[in-house]
């Protein structure tokens, strides 16, 4: 299955891209996806926030085909 992944702010700069489409096995959690991205890019990033389809999710949230997954640093608006 495929999911689209978005990065924002300092994480977008670290990744060198704003978005990508990633092929995944079935039954992958959002935190497993995150770890595989960190491994493949060989980077570290603390305190990541995770959203799926524009809603915050817990790290064990199971992804499904077509999900829009977003990773970003702690928010600093207002």
């Amino acid at each position: 299955m495929q999911v689209s992944v978005k990065y924002f702010a300092s994480l977008r700069e670290l990744m060198g891209e704003a978005s990508s489409v990633i092929d995944l096995e079935e039954s992958v959690s959002v935190s497993e996806l995150w770890q595989s991205i960190l491994d493949s890019k060989d980077v570290k990033f603390d305190n990541v926030m995770m959203a799926v389809n524009m809603e915050y999710v817990k790290s064990e949230h199971q992804l499904k085909s077509g999900d829009e997954v977003a990773f970003f640093p702690p928010v600093t608006g207002g």
Partner: protein, 145 residues
């Protein structure tokens, strides 16, 4: 209820008046609490010359809507207005405006502050500050309590 992300500078009090004129709550509201966040020339003792605000189009609006709706329900508010800047923001420009209308003051005060805290801690916005010696992402917001 109005939630808007603005690319251009806005004037908070002109916006308050303009939005209020569109409401049909005359005689019902006795209390309006309103918070305006404005661009300073310093942050954590560093001089800042301007900043750039990024957001997550779609999610930011959706998330602010959810915050506002929850506040309206919890405090029985008559209306809520949230405006937030994105893009390049200069010193003295307004960044955020939150306003809450209610019959009595307790509800207006509490909801306005809670919306701001939720916005600060969870709405997908990120600030990058230009300090004169280079641009830097802000790592976290200052505590509100």
């Amino acid at each position: 209820m109005l939630i808007e992300i603005r690319k251009k500078p806005f004037n908070a009090y002109a916006e308050m008046q303009y939005y209020l004129d569109s409401l049909v709550i005359d005689g019902k509201y006795g209390a309006t609490a309103n918070f305006v966040g404005t661009m300073r020339d310093f942050n954590e003792d560093k001089k800042v010359t301007y900043m750039t605000l990024e957001h997550y189009p779609g999610m930011t609006e959706k998330h602010l809507n959810a915050i506002a709706k929850e506040a309206i329900e919890k405090w029985q508010l008559l209306d809520v207005l949230i405006l937030h800047r994105i893009g390049k923001v200069k010193i003295t420009e307004d960044i955020v405006l939150v306003a809450c209308w209610s019959a009595h003051r307790k509800e207006a005060f509490e909801s306005c502050r809670m919306i701001m805290e939720q916005l600060k801690s969870s709405a997908p916005f990120w600030k990058k500050e230009e300090t004169g010696s280079g641009a830097k992402w802000v790592e976290k917001n200052t505590p509100g309590f």
